[in-house]
Symmetry: C2
Subunit: 155 residues, 2 copies
């Protein structure tokens, strides 16, 4: 098991621009709720099935396995409820940490979120000026929730 320790923020869109082409992500949920999710994700040319446990603080158990992209395509098309999550993920290095900036498309078009994955809950890190309100604990911004109740941001 890996433990994922992650904090999540809204991005102040007027202050951030992508500096590369990013990677296309498409993902759906075979299940969510009851303290666990099973996600199918296609990330660029790779695909994964990922089981996550309940969130405790900023941490979550995570089990991720590579799967054939063709299987993932079928599971997303045939088995996952719609809408799927569609986003472009950019990796941004800032002050010695990697931020992942997700620019959503599809039903969540215009939403931009930034995540930082940390080795421990008390790891200190600097926050770039394009990072806005923290939404780590806000269930509306869980990707599994965005697949049920999208949060588009047209501004």
């Amino acid at each position: 098991m890996a433990v994922e320790i992650e904090r999540k923020y809204r991005v102040i869109k007027s202050r951030w621009q992508p500096n590369d082409t990013g990677v296309d992500y498409r993902q759906g949920y075979l299940c969510s709720g009851d303290g666990r999710t099973v996600r199918v994700r296609i990330a660029g040319a790779q695909a994964f099935i990922t089981v996550k446990g309940p969130t405790r603080g900023y941490a979550r158990a995570e089990y991720e396995y590579p799967v054939p992209v063709s299987d993932a395509e079928e599971m997303l098309t045939e088995l996952c409820p719609k809408p799927l999550i569609e986003k472009i993920r950019y990796r941004v290095e800032y002050a010695g940490h990697i931020w992942e900036v997700d620019v959503f498309n599809g039903d969540n078009r215009g939403l931009v979120l930034a995540e930082i994955e940390l080795p421990a809950e008390d790891t200190r890190f600097e926050v770039p000026d394009w990072v806005g309100e923290e939404v780590s604990g806000d269930p509306r911004y869980f990707n599994s929730s965005l697949a049920v109740t999208p949060q588009p941001d047209p501004n």
Copy 2:
């Protein structure tokens, strides 16, 4: 994707005896219902995560991936609802086909079911005399249901 085509029967216990030691199976469901299940299974020294789609006739889409046994142990213990399914699976060759006979333990103790996996829905096969009532379409005998509403058979 594989398509699993399977028929399932109750076993007439007075007419059947195991002829080897079988393989211990322990499995649970990360989710079931809404036309799909995600199963975690430990089968002897191997472990798998398996996604199945809705049953159509005797057929079901199935995606199975090996996972580390230690991951499966954790997912069964920490994430899957209880009770788990515990059974010993025996492979029995009869008239050119393999039957899998499941002798349940735990909350389903005493239940014995036999399954035959077929290459096509119209494949012909002979039924041994220890095979009783067909339960292929009976949701009570889906393993995902046995994990929620056990069907022990003390006789």
